[in-house]
Structures are given as structure tokens and as C-alpha cells.
């Protein structure tokens, strides 16, 4: 059974992002969920499925059940999922499967964390070492950025990618964030600003790294048929596929050829699209090297050519393929698994023509790619505003 066009995203919602000290993580999630429910124009009692992720600041054992309890809903399908940054994409896949099988009809996907004000920066940095292997990586003192530093160094070695090209990813997304009133960081930056910011883990500078935010997002997934009867223009899940190869970076078969190629081609086959068909790309961007690798893996640029693609401005709104038009995790917001959910929400808003100054003219087909761990777990979504 193909999931092609079986499910659609209807309402979407976000919390305020950045430093939001008047909200708990659950409170941020509830704010986003309320916005999504009101946007969809449905009643809370119509939600019969709930998927959420995990929280490093509020470590509930059964977060899915806690989320239902906090929101005051009692769905027949609920889970907390932990696939790192890939989680929101994987959730859309699972929601589509649950809807297509008749398990439930209306799934609330909601993820939020108060990573900026719910913990100190030292605590945030230390908590992220959980990505490393406790016995065979963490005794060597890696930071999470250094795990991606290994990836960047290898890509530079294999393909001649330059620090300036990495920096141009941050410059591009910051330019887009400047067009997005909701983004956390909106002041324009230059390549020199990135290169002169301090090293976090060579070859990555401070401005090569994503933000730490208080933030939550929510989307409501329902059947394609039902979505047509609701107020928001349906965004169809035309293709979706996952691929999981490892978790720890030291176990990766390659640092530049990842599971993203496999997940994307499966999603393209389901959707019957080619890489050159997309109007906008929303690519997981925890560090500047990541969208570069994803563009190459997804076939949106040739091998070793994505750095130049960003450097030449082709990824800007108005360019050949605009990337991360909301500002991405580098400039809009990043809070755990919520980071990639904003990519999905931005794709919906682009496909509905709701993006104002940052609207990609005539956007009809979007690709979203999210990854978790260190290029370990992948999910590609092909989203469309028509069936």
C-alpha cells in the first residue's frame, strides 16, 4: 500500500521562539498545539492521535502520555518518538500510516522544548554529549559540534569545500531570517562575520552552528479527503521515506555518503518526482555542512557542488532553488526535535503562499529532509499543494 497522497497536513502552529522564560517546555508545546488546532478549525475532541518527541530540559519518562495529560486529550493512538532531528519527519510517516490504516483520523504532532531558558548554556552543551557513544566516543571529550566538525573536515578533504562556502550557508539562511518576523536572529551577517566568529570545533565557527532556543511547533495530519473540508489549504504528503544506518559517527560507513540518498530516492519514487522538480527545499541545518551534504545526497546539486551553489546565491529566494526560507535552525530557531518541525511548517506555509516577503513565487512542490544523530537517521518528505 503506497502512502502517496493518503494524508495531508492541515493546521499548523508555532509558539513564540527565542528566549521565552514565561513558558515551560510543555507550555510552549501547548501554545503551538492550540495555534494548530485553531488554524485547522477543529475541536480538541477530534484529535484521536498524538505524537511527540523527547525533552532534555523536562525529562518525563512517558512524554507522549504526559503531553496528552497536559493538553487534556485522550487519543487512541499516542507515542513519544526519539529519532533525534529526524523525529518530526518520522512522525509524519507514522501519522500517515496510522491514518491510511484506519487506526485514527486526526493526528496532532507537537514538539517543544525550553532549551534556552530551561537550562544554562553549559547544561545545554553537556546534555548534547548524549549523542556520543558513552564508552567508545565520550571518553575522548567530543562536543556535539566536533562530531559534525569531523563530517565537515572530511567533506572539505574529499570535495575541496571551503570555509567560505560553509559560511555562505549561514549567510543565506540569515538573509532569509531577516525576511521572517518570527525568526530569532535577523541581523544580516557576512562571510567574514562567520569566519571571524570564534571556533567552536574546527572547522566550524560559532556562526556555523545552530541556535539554542525555546520553541515549539505543531501540525495536524489528517486524511487527504478530510483535509479538503477544512479551512487551511491541504498540503499533501505525496512522498515519504526513512532510512536508518547507525547512530554514532564512528560507526558511519562514510561521512559524505549517508542514508539521505536512499530515503530521498524512495520518497521521490513514491511521489513520482525528480530532484529538479522542487520549488523550495527545507533541509536540516544543525551545522552549515549539513545542508551542503543533504543537497548532494538528495540530488539537488552534484557531488562536491553544493558549497558553490550556496556561495553563488542560488539557494536564496529568487535563486535556482531557495533553501530554508524561514531561516532554518541556524537563524530561525532550534530546540531539539522541534527544529526540523519548523522546516515542515515552513514548507506548508510556502505551498499555501502565506510567506509574505519571503514567499517563493508559485511554490507548488517542496522537499523536506531531516536527519538525526550524526547523519544517522534520515527522513525525506515530498509535500505538494495539489494531488
Amino acid at each position: 500500500m503506497s502512502l502517496r497522497n493518503r494524508a495531508a497536513i492541515t493546521g499548523v502552529g508555532m509558539s513564540r521562539v527565542g528566549a521565552v522564560p514565561d513558558r515551560t517546555g510543555l507550555g510552549l508545546a501547548a501554545e503551538a498545539a492550540k495555534n494548530a488546532v485553531e488554524h485547522a478549525g477543529i475541536g480538541w475532541d477530534e484529535i484521536d492521535g498524538l505524537l511527540t518527541a523527547y525533552s532534555m530540559t523536562e525529562r518525563y519518562f512517558m512524554l507522549g502520555s504526559v503531553m496528552c495529560e497536559y493538553l487534556g486529550i485522550a487519543p487512541r493512538y499516542a507515542a513519544s518518538m526519539v529519532v533525534g532531528g529526524a523525529t518530526p519527519g518520522v512522525m509524519v510517516n507514522h501519522a500517515a500510516m496510522a491514518i491510511a490504516s484506519g487506526e485514527c483520523s486526526t493526528v496532532l504532532i507537537v514538539i517543544g522544548e525550553n532549551r534556552k531558558t530551561g537550562q544554562s548554556t553549559d547544561e545545554a552543551v553537556a546534555a548534547l554529549t548524549a549523542v556520543g557513544h558513552p564508552n567508545f566516543e565520550n571518553p575522548y571529550g567530543p562536543s556535539l559540534p566536533s562530531l559534525y566538525g569531523l563530517v565537515a573536515q572530511r567533506h572539505m578533504y574529499e570535495h575541496g569545500t571551503t570555509p567560505e562556502q560553509l559560511a555562505s550557508v549561514a549567510v543565506t539562511t540569515r538573509y532569509h531570517a531577516g525576511l521572517n518576523p518570527a525568526a530569532q536572529m535577523r541581523t544580516p551577517i557576512t562571510v567574514d562575520d562567520v569566519l571571524s566568529s570564534r571556533y567552536i570545533a574546527e572547522p566550524l565557527h560559532l556562526l556555523d552552528c545552530c541556535l539554542i532556543s525555546d520553541a515549539a511547533g505543531a501540525i495536524i495530519v489528517t486524511s487527504a479527503e478530510r483535509a479538503r473540508d477544512l479551512a487551511p489549504k491541504p498540503v499533501y504528503v505525496r512522498g515519504v521515506s526513512e532510512y536508518h544506518t547507525h547512530e554514532h559517527v564512528s560507526m558511519a560507513a562514510s561521512l559524505t555518503s549517508t542514508g539521505a540518498e536512499v530515503s530521498s530516492r524512495a520518497a521521490y519514487r513514491m511521489a513520482d518526482v525528480e530532484p529538479h522538480d522542487f520549488d523550495v527545499a527545507l533541509l536540516y541545518d544543525c551545522f552549515t555542512i549539513v545542508p551542503i551534504i543533504e543537497m548532494e545526497e538528495l540530488g539537488l546539486a552534484g557531488r562536491g557542488e553544493a558549497g558553490a551553489f550556496f556561495e553563488q546565491g542560488y539557494a536564496r529566494i529568487g535563486g535556482k532553488l531557495p533553501v530554508n526560507t524561514h531561516g532554518g535552525m541556524l537563524s530561525h530557531a532550534h530546540a531539539g526535535a522541534a527544529g526540523g518541525l519548523f522546516h515542515i511548517i515552513e514548507a506548508c506555509q510556502q505551498l499555501r503562499g502565506e510567506c509574505g516577503e519571503r514567499q517563493v513565487a508559485g511554490a507548488g512542490l517542496a522537499v523536506v529532509h531531516v536527519e538525526g544523530g550524526v547523519l544517522s537517521s534520515h527522513c525525506t518528505l515530498v509535500l505538494s499543494n495539489s494531488r
Binding site: P139, P142, S146, G149, R198, I200, A201, E202, P203
Partner: protein, 139 residues
């Protein structure tokens, strides 16, 4: 880089590996059926899924596959140790492992040859790490 590090906790999968390291030997686990080395040590061969294994000492030399220089320490306890090098080392036996390269970061390059040394932390725990093998100077 020694102060404030997290130490491994030997378990049923890895006790031989760590006891070897404490004795100054880098022991690798091999599949007794398909013969392939694997890292990290575990119950099943990830290639043929046999549960028969044997152990052999590694030669201890390898090549830097990639590296990063940590400037922002992951924990306050490591703040005094920066900058230090984390790396992926491809051993000559064909497995890849994470380790520190104890060298001036400016000298570290992908492709450089390295050899194992051991950092003794406690009576039971020594951590394999690597140093650069001096390159022959071109005449």
C-alpha cells in the same frame, strides 16, 4: 587531556577490550565465522550475525580518516584542556575508531599516519589514543 573526562564502564561486551587496554594492548574482536574484524565489541557480527568471536591484538597503527579541534569544551571540567583533537582513526586492520590524537592541532591532517598509545586513568581503565608518526622528510 585527562582531567574531567568521562570514563568507560566495562561490561559483558567490552570487558576483554578494556582489560587489554589496561595491559597496554589494543585488542580487536574478529568474527570466528566470516573472519571480519569489528568495532566496537559486541555479541553478534554486524556482517554475518554469527555469535562466535575471537580476539587478536591490533598492530596499533592507522591513518587519520577525519578530525576536529575542540575549542568549546563539552563540559566545564574539560575547559582547561582545549584546544584538543578528536579524530576518526582507520586502523590498518580495517576498522574505524574514535580517539584523541595527542599532537599539536596544527600538525594534524587527514591521511597522516598514527600509532596507538595508552592514557592510564585508573588501575582498571586505560584509554587508547594516538600520536602522529613523524613523516619522512623529502630529500
Amino acid at each position: 587531556v585527562s582531567e574531567g573526562r568521562l570514563l568507560p564502564r566495562p561490561d559483558a561486551d567490552t570487558r576483554l577490550y578494556w582489560s587489554g587496554a589496561a595491559d597496554g594492548r589494543l585488542l580487536l574482536q574478529y568474527c570466528a565465522d566470516c573472519g571480519k574484524p569489528r568495532f566496537y565489541p559486541r555479541l553478534l557480527c554486524p556482517y554475518c550475525h554469527s555469535d562466535e568471536a575471537r580476539w587478536e591484538p591490533a598492530a596499533g597503527s592507522g591513518t587519520i580518516y577525519s578530525f576536529s579541534v575542540v575549542h568549546r569544551a563539552p563540559t566545564p571540567a574539560l575547559a582547561a584542556a582545549v584546544p584538543y583533537v578528536v579524530a576518526l582513526i582507520e586502523l590498518d586492520e580495517g576498522i574505524r575508531m574514535f580517539a584523541n590524537v595527542t599532537a599539536d592541532p596544527a600538525q594534524v591532517r587527514i591521511g597522516r599516519r598514527v600509532t596507538v598509545t595508552f592514557r592510564h586513568e585508573t588501575d582498571e581503565i586505560a584509554i587508547p589514543e594516538f600520536t602522529l608518526i613523524e613523516e619522512a622528510t623529502a630529500s
